[in-house]
């Protein structure tokens, strides 16, 4: 039972890191970016290819995956995304889903459609028993890393100058720029970090979730569930939503394998009926 809980938490944390970037762009910047999974995939492929072709050790590939995805995010934000900010949501949806299909086809063409296999270093594979709880070392690694990230992210958003600038830029871009805040640069940085986080999530998740060119499509639903259930105005909302979903998914598959993935959707519908804006909503938020 506790083993399952542990697995569920690890799975949830992974979903959180994958989705938190989307919560930032969707919630703070009010932009519907369905191509979020494509950045995650980029991070995953960066890790696999660096390990396979260049012999870079696993841990060293993680920051590279983050940087590459962030770089790609920054580049696309400058060139493609910025003109879309003012457009209606439907346009944004069509635009970003188009990007997803292009990413899928490009990876398929360049690397091939086969599953990519991550070879973890020995100290991260295997598991040990702690008071009758079976703990997978890699899953523990995911939990610790993701927890640190969450704390850091929360601090940046609530305590730093950049955080307050971002919140100001989001709430009223005109007034914010009148106050001397470079709104474009703030958005560019935010988008890059969001994409980078997705890339890191993809790199971490390649081992657990598998990695092939359909990755962004396969997990789009999960990202969207996390964000819609968690609400988009805080970091804690998506975190709790991701944990809840991870645990529910694992327990559901264990105790009622016939229902399989269905449990997650049921849970989502129930929560959204109860709180249509998501679990945690800042009062007065748009």
């Amino acid at each position: 039972m506790l083993t399952l809980l542990f697995d569920g938490i690890a799975y949830g944390m992974l979903l959180f890191v994958l989705a938190v970037g989307l919560a930032v762009t969707l919630g703070l910047m009010n932009f519907i970016n369905l191509a979020h999974g494509a950045f995650a995939m980029a991070g995953g492929y960066a890790t696999v290819l660096l390990m396979d072709r260049a012999g870079v050790p696993f841990l060293a590939t993680l920051p590279i995956a983050f940087a590459l995805a962030a770089g790609a995010g920054a580049l696309l934000e400058r060139t493609l995304y910025r003109p879309m900010y003012g457009k209606p949501h439907l346009d944004q949806v069509l635009f970003s889903i188009g990007l997803v299909f292009m990413a899928v086809a490009a990876v398929d063409y360049l690397i091939g459609s086969q599953q990519q296999i991550v070879k973890l270093p020995a100290f991260l594979s295997g598991r040990f028993d702690l008071a009758a709880v079976g703990i997978g070392k890699y899953r523990l690694f995911i939990i610790v890393l993701c927890a640190l990230l969450t704390v850091a992210l929360q601090l940046v958003l609530s305590r730093t100058r950049f955080g307050s600038r971002l919140r100001a830029a989001v709430d009223d871009p005109r007034v914010a720029s009148g106050l001397g805040i470079n709104v474009n640069r703030v958005f560019l940085l935010t988008f890059a970090v969001g994409s980078g986080l997705a890339g890191l999530g993809g790199a971490l998740g390649a081992e657990v979730l598998g990695l092939d060119p359909t990755f962004p499509l396969k997990f789009m639903i999960y990202f969207l569930i996390v964000v819609s259930v968690g609400g988009t105005s805080t970091i804690t909302g998506p975190l709790l939503a991701a944990l809840l979903l991870g645990i529910a998914d694992v327990l559901g598959k264990y105790y009622a394998p016939k229902l399989g993935a269905f449990i997650v959707y049921t849970l989502m519908i129930v929560i959204l009926l109860w709180r249509p804006q998501g679990l945690f909503v800042r009062k007065g938020a748009r």
Binding site: L4, D7, Q115, K119, S125, G126, G210
Partner: protein, 386 residues
């Protein structure tokens, strides 16, 4: 705009008129998933078909054989439409390929209506050959290759087994066959799990298997997913808990086996083809296949395509290049030596009868291979033996 349409129209008409002039070619319509999640199937079969033609020449009864390759991206509607176009516009003598069960089933009515033979080179659900009297199969069926491992398990001190299969046609075929035969031989099934085709994480399912107290886990999952399953099997410590992993050969697919690493070592599977099959013919096949495709190893899909092409070419030789009934009859009952061993196209069921091998993953010359150690001779698809 209008002029462009006119040009396009006239071009299309010329193209349609051309085949009438070139009566001395025989066309083969090859429909494969060349993109999308099952592209590796398409890649293997395409390479094998090309290899066969390169080795054996592409003329038959004085006619040139032309293979028209089309990509259906494993979408059944597309397969059906392409098949229709190939039959109506290109007047192909035979349709071939078909990576997955739904794709083959969608095309079956067209084969029947047009009286065009259809050679299934990959799809493996037992019932496919019953969907049309024009279907010939050169791959395998899941019940056919599952029996072997069920027999082996019962004989090798495995009393309690858990099953884990992917929840679609072939998976359910495999689950049922394993269960029936294993229970018949005195075994007991302690837990049965079906996982969705798009399943991100095996952890909870495997934990369930671990807690069920089984001696072994029997599994069927499509080949790409197999590596993830095996890694988590070891990661979760099921091997250390004394649970053996047994499976059909899809899990240790030769195409990706080498990338799986040590977790695959010692896994026992039953299947009809291994790149390590010890015969001169197979060694030649593996070598030529690798040489033509940057060292790629042929897998069971590749051998299905290679044999499929052989059956078609020999059939065309006997029918003097004619398609339809004549070709169908010439393909039925062919007996020959394949890289996988001796095979027969059963004249009654039009399905393949072949040896099934029990294999174990071992390291040979630094590479991982499925090494065969037991043979079941001439296994017929149990779905049709009744």
């Amino acid at each position: 705009m209008q002029r462009r349409t006119l040009v396009a129209l006239s071009l299309a008409m010329t193209a349609a008129a051309l085949p009438a002039a070139a009566q001395d070619t025989v066309k083969i319509g090859l429909i494969l998933p060349m993109t999308g999640p099952f592209a590796s199937t398409g890649r293997q079969i395409d390479a094998a078909v090309k290899l066969y033609l390169a080795q054996n020449g592409s003329t038959v009864a004085g006619k040139k054989v032309e293979v028209i390759l089309k990509d259906d991206a494993s979408v059944a509607d597309t397969t059906r439409r392409i098949a229709q176009e190939l039959v109506v516009n290109d007047k192909v003598a035979v349709l071939a390929g078909f990576g997955l069960t739904p794709l083959a089933l969608a095309t079956a009515p067209i084969a029947t209506q047009a009286k065009t033979p259809m050679v299934v080179m990959a799809a493996a659900t037992s019932s496919i050959t019953e969907a049309s009297p024009y279907i010939v199969r050169t791959s395998f069926t899941l019940p056919q290759v599952t029996l072997g491992i069920a027999e082996w398990a019962a004989k090798n001190k495995i009393k309690k087994a858990a099953t884990l299969v992917t929840d679609y046609g072939p998976g359910i075929d495999a689950e049922k066959t394993f269960k029936d035969r294993f229970v018949l031989n005195g075994g007991q099934i302690v837990t049965e799990v079906r996982v969705p085709l798009r399943n991100p994480d095996f952890a909870p399912f495997l934990q369930r298997v671990r807690d069920s107290g089984a001696d072994a886990l029997f599994t069927f999952v499509p080949s790409g997913v197999g590596s993830a399953l095996m890694k988590q099997f070891a990661e979760r410590g099921l091997d250390k808990a004394g649970i053996r992993l047994i499976a059909t050969g899809d899990v240790t697919d030769d195409d990706i086996l080498n990338d799986m690493g040590d977790v695959a070592l010692g896994v026992v599977t039953s299947h009809h083809y291994s790149a390590a099959h010890k015969s001169a013919l197979n060694q030649k096949f593996v070598e030529a296949f690798g040489k033509a495709n940057k060292g790629m190893r042929p897998n069971f899909m590749g051998v299905g395509g290679y044999d499929g092409m052989r059956v078609i070419m020999e059939g065309l030789k006997a029918s003097k290049g004619a398609g339809g009934e004549a070709l169908l009859n010439a393909m039925k009952g062919q007996v020959f030596e394949s890289p996988r061993g001796p095979v027969l196209i059963d004249a009654q069921t039009r399905d393949i009868v072949q040896d099934v091998y029990i294999r174990k993953v071992e390291r040979v010359n630094g590479q991982l291979y499925n090494v065969e150690f037991e043979t079941q001779k001439g296994v017929k698809d149990p779905g049709k033996a009744k």
